[in-house]
């Protein structure tokens, strides 16, 4: 069995988040011992669409989340379409096909909430460009558990409503442009 990861960074986004990820992901430290999870709203039939794209931008190996798969350090995990991704424990993921939450599956809120529960203050949550409000309640949970919460600067967001909602709700500890988010994650997670 692989070693337990040191910390978990969960990055969620919706419309317009890909261009942010393109700037953010290359900043991840190649030797990081943290695990990263990317949750982006996508069409329910998307099978492998997102993985090769994110993989090309990421300095660490990228892999699709599978049920009961180990949360390995130094890996970027991508939440699959048409499932909810849950952080079951510090060691492993779980998937579910339960009802959409805030019209979304995967729901960013569920990943953030379950990460807060499993990792407490060692969870970092990042909310990127998007519409709607999925992720805002989750950020609140991460903050309450003592984790760092970051949201994309609305001025830099293609679709600023989601980061704006997080800021209005007072749940974003830091508000940064994508490249700075990547650098911050490298500082926090090593």
């Amino acid at each position: 069995m692989s070693a337990e990861t040191s910390s978990l960074a969960v990055i969620g986004g919706s419309a317009g988040s890909l261009s942010a990820l393109r700037e953010l992901l290359p900043e991840i430290a190649p030797a990081t011992t943290a695990s990263f999870v990317v949750v982006v709203h996508q069409h329910r039939h998307s099978t492998t669409g997102l993985l090769p794209v994110l993989s090309a931008w990421s300095p660490i190996p990228a892999r699709s989340v599978e049920d009961k798969a180990a949360i390995e350090p130094g890996v970027l995990f991508v939440a699959p379409a048409n499932y909810h991704t849950l952080i079951e424990t510090r060691l492993c993921f779980a998937l579910s096909t339960d009802e959409r939450v805030s019209f979304a599956r995967p729901a960013i809120d569920l990943v953030f909430e379950s990460a807060a529960r499993a990792f407490g203050g060692r969870a970092v949550a990042v909310l990127l460009s998007g519409g709607g409000s999925d992720g805002v309640a989750g950020l609140a949970r991460v903050r309450k558990a003592g984790g760092v919460t970051i949201c994309q600067d609305p001025a830099s967001s293609e679709e600023p409503r989601l980061p704006r909602a997080a800021i209005d709700a007072g749940v974003a500890l830091e508000i940064l442009a994508p490249r700075r988010i990547g650098a911050r994650l490298a500082e926090i997670c090593g």
């Binding site: 039939h45 099978t47 989340v65 599978e66 049920d67 009961k68 699959p80 048409n82 499932y83 849950l86 952080i87 079951e88 779980a94 998937l95 579910s96 096909t97 339960d98 009802e99 569920l110 379950s114 529960r117």
Partner: protein
């Protein structure tokens, strides 16, 4: 309330359900079951899990509704069209060699995928020689599956999935449309066999050529998942197929029961027979 106390209360409720009614949800994956317990609590109108538990062990009608909330699964007709395409193209030709087919949908929920399989078999000309068993532990889900009535608002999604799955006909041939619902045709429904069956506590179901268990094992913990896979190995004829959901896979320990990968991406496994 702290997460630790919450965990304890959820476990106590599951223990009470097991002791009183015999449904064993204790080895369900904790994250999902916890969410469901809280959703059931919110629906029940009680403010504390201990209050719900008090009533639930005394009134079976309260239990019936909670059981439904704890076990309901959401699916679609032809969920993951690429899986059904692989099943049509690669599994169906191998099924043609059998004079009689026995196929089991384990954990069929409200039945959408059972009808999808029935449609694929019909279009392949194999439906007449197939016994299609569909089981679920939830009486309410099974009732819905038997009825085969679905909200009309899902029709577009079903039809789109059907086409993407390689459907060669017109999906409209398989249902009749009412005001706000569609009903699967009698021709499909009358050939299906529905049974209550709990994968945790009931025995294997024998001599199958195919077992579908898609997106059910994600709700079980790793040990329970393995013991259910063992039941599937006992249920399958050598050369038979096990179809899982896209996010699920057999571990090395599961494969040792006699399975090999048949379609890696679509999570179709072949049972080669028990290994010595």
């Amino acid at each position: 309330m702290t997460d630790e106390l919450d965990d304890i209360e959820v476990r106590l409720l599951l223990e009470a359900i097991y002791l009183r009614y015999g449904y064993d949800l204790r080895a369900y994956a904790p994250g999902s079951i916890r969410r469901r317990v809280h959703a059931a609590l919110a629906k029940s109108g009680f403010s504390k899990l201990s209050d719900l538990q008090h009533v639930l062990v005394r009134e079976s009608s309260v239990f019936a509704s909670v059981l439904e909330d704890l076990t309901v699964r959401v699916t679609e007709m032809f969920r993951d069209p690429s899986f059904y395409r692989a099943f049509r193209n690669d599994v169906v030709p191998r099924l043609r060699t059998y004079p009689l087919l026995r196929i089991w949908h384990a954990g069929c929920a409200s039945g959408e995928e059972v009808y999808a399989t029935a449609i694929v078999l019909r279009e392949a000309g194999l439906f007449e020689r197939t016994q299609l068993y569909a089981t679920d532990l939830s009486p309410a889900a099974l009732q819905a599956a038997k009825l085969g009535v679905y909200p009309a608002e899902l029709l577009r999604e079903f039809t789109e999935n059907y086409r993407e799955s390689g459907g060669s006909g017109d999906f409209a041939e398989y249902y009749t449309e009412g005001y706000d619902a569609i009903a699967m045709t009698e021709a499909l429904r009358r050939e299906l066999l529905f049974f209550e069956h709990d994968l945790v506590s009931d025995q294997a179901f024998g001599e199958m050529q195919v077992v579908f268990c898609r997106n059910v094992l994600i709700y079980f913990d790793a040990d329970l998942k393995h013991s259910v896979i063992r039941k599937f190995a006992e249920s399958l004829r050598p050369g038979g197929f096990l179809c899982l959901g896209r996010g699920e896979k057999l571990t090395a320990r599961d494969l040792e029961l006699g399975f090999s990968e048949f379609d890696r991406d679509e999570r179709i496994y072949r049972y080669d027979g028990a290994r010595r």
